[in-house]
């Protein structure tokens, strides 16, 4: 348990650094702003409980927000992602079975389900983020295009991260 907490704290800090110092400076083609830190929310262990999951995701989003000179945008999106994970996204990886998967990753669940699960949540995150950022219904096509492109790039980064770091730990 203690190892789990330490691992998550380290992941929190590393992802925060990568997000703030690397990924926030990337704005490919004006559309893509990868949000790798959602990986932290995707991989939070289920055993900490729903309320803690919401609070920790809120803290993650707030930290990213504060470090990138805006407030509320990432916080809002992260909280919604955590809520979606609690309410329905976890059912994607358990596939309706009663088995509970503590830490969803590409190795603990079947890869296609994990990609579906994380793709959906990352899309929700970037859609909310870009909606708040544009804040204009006439830009809906830009919002959707940005969300889809960002989701694809982020998903690739998430899978790469898991292949590099998780595999070694196992």
């Amino acid at each position: 348990m203690r190892g789990l907490i330490i691992r998550n704290i380290i992941r929190f800090i590393v992802l925060l650094f990568i997000q703030v110092f690397v990924l926030n400076n990337i704005y490919l083609g004006g559309y893509i702003n990868p949000v790798l830190y959602t990986l932290f929310i995707l991989m939070l262990p289920n055993r900490i409980g729903k309320i803690y999951m919401l609070l920790i995701s809120f803290a993650m989003g707030l930290s990213v927000d504060m470090c990138s000179n805006m407030l509320g945008f990432h916080t809002c999106a992260s909280t919604v992602v955590a809520f979606c994970r609690i309410t329905f996204a976890d059912r994607i990886i358990t596939r309706g079975d009663d088995i509970s998967i503590d830490m969803p990753s590409i190795f603990t669940v079947a890869p296609q389900y994990f990609i579906y699960y994380s793709g959906l949540l990352i899309f929700i995150h970037s859609f909310i983020f870009f909606t708040l950022d544009y804040f204009n219904f006439s830009d809906i096509f830009n919002i959707i295009l940005s969300s889809i492109l960002t989701t694809i790039v982020t998903l690739i980064l998430v899978i790469m991260w898991q292949l590099i770091f998780i595999h070694r730990k196992r």
């Binding site: 729903k50 309320i51 919401l54 809120f58 707030l62 407030l71 916080t75 809002c76 909280t79």
Partner: protein, 276 residues
């Protein structure tokens, strides 16, 4: 009660979610100007009266006082304009001081009640007989003509705006100086019609329509609107003109009530004419 408690216990994470969302939205709204303005616009549209409570920022209160001051100053400046004075063209008066005599003075008033969606719209302002407002005085806004004072009480007055189905005002096309009558069909508060302008005068889109000063309500040359479209196909010798009103009746805030000091004199003459 116990069921409610159990339900709350089961849905505790939803309550946490709602609280966290509220916090993040408040953070967002307070910290980014664009988002704040849009959210404020939404709330204003939904419940106008709540806006002042949301605007707890002191600068907004200061802005309101500033606006009142500016409106009062505008009224003062308008009263000093050349158009506010009646020119004595006779050569016997040579002294600079008496070339002009004051004709119009302006009283600043605030719109406290306004309608624009009905057929017979009315505007209420916060000045009345106590401040020298009388029926039949013209009311203008910084954008253009608004209407004519209908009734007055001690502290309030109602105005019949030009977007009232039975209002008729004398207007002229400012380029050609041809006179016509402004009427309103009761449909769209942004547009009105001008009739009685002969087709012998050429007309263009976006020609300015101003008050003519012929009827003794409005001073001359107050903008009324701009020609949006016109047609002369009825072959009765007159245009049918649709004009875009320069006053936005939806956003009326401060107006000026025009006092015409020579109105009684003109009225006397008109009455004398009718007696004959």
């Amino acid at each position: 009660m116990r069921h409610l408690f159990e339900l709350l216990k089961r849905l505790d994470y939803i309550i946490v979610f709602i609280v966290l969302m509220a916090i993040s939205i408040v953070l967002m709204v307070q910290n980014s100007h664009y988002q704040r303005s849009i959210v404020l616009n939404w709330t204003t549209a939904i419940v106008g009266s709540w806006t002042s409570r949301i605007n707890t920022f002191s600068e907004y209160f200061a802005l309101k006082a500033e606006n009142d001051k500016l409106a009062a100053e505008n009224a003062k400046l308008r009263a000093q304009m050349k158009e506010s004075f009646l020119s004595y063209s006779s050569n016997t008066y040579v002294s600079e001081d008496t070339v002009y005599e004051r004709r119009y003075s302006y009283t600043e008033a605030k719109v406290i009640k306004n309608s624009w969606t009905k057929r017979n719209n009315y505007i209420m302002i916060n000045k009345g007989t106590k401040q020298g407002i009388k029926p039949d005085m013209a009311v203008i806004s910084p954008q253009g003509a608004v209407g004519v004072v209908l009734n007055c009480t001690k502290n309030f007055s109602t105005i019949m705006p030009i977007i009232h189905a039975s209002s008729q005002n004398s207007v002229s096309v400012s380029r050609t100086k041809t006179n016509g009558t402004l009427v309103w069909d009761g449909k769209d508060y942004r547009y009105a019609n001008v009739i009685d302008i002969p087709t012998t005068y050429k007309l263009y889109e976006n020609d300015t329509v101003v008050t003519s000063g012929m009827a003794n309500d409005f001073p001359e040359g107050i903008p009324v609107g701009y020609v949006e479209s016109f047609d002369a196909e009825k072959n009765n010798g007159f245009y049918e003109i649709k004009i875009r009103l320069s006053t936005d009746f939806n956003k009326l805030g401060h107006v000026y009530v025009v006092t015409d000091r020579f109105k009684d004199e003109q009225k006397e003459l008109t009455e004398a004419l009718q007696d004959q």
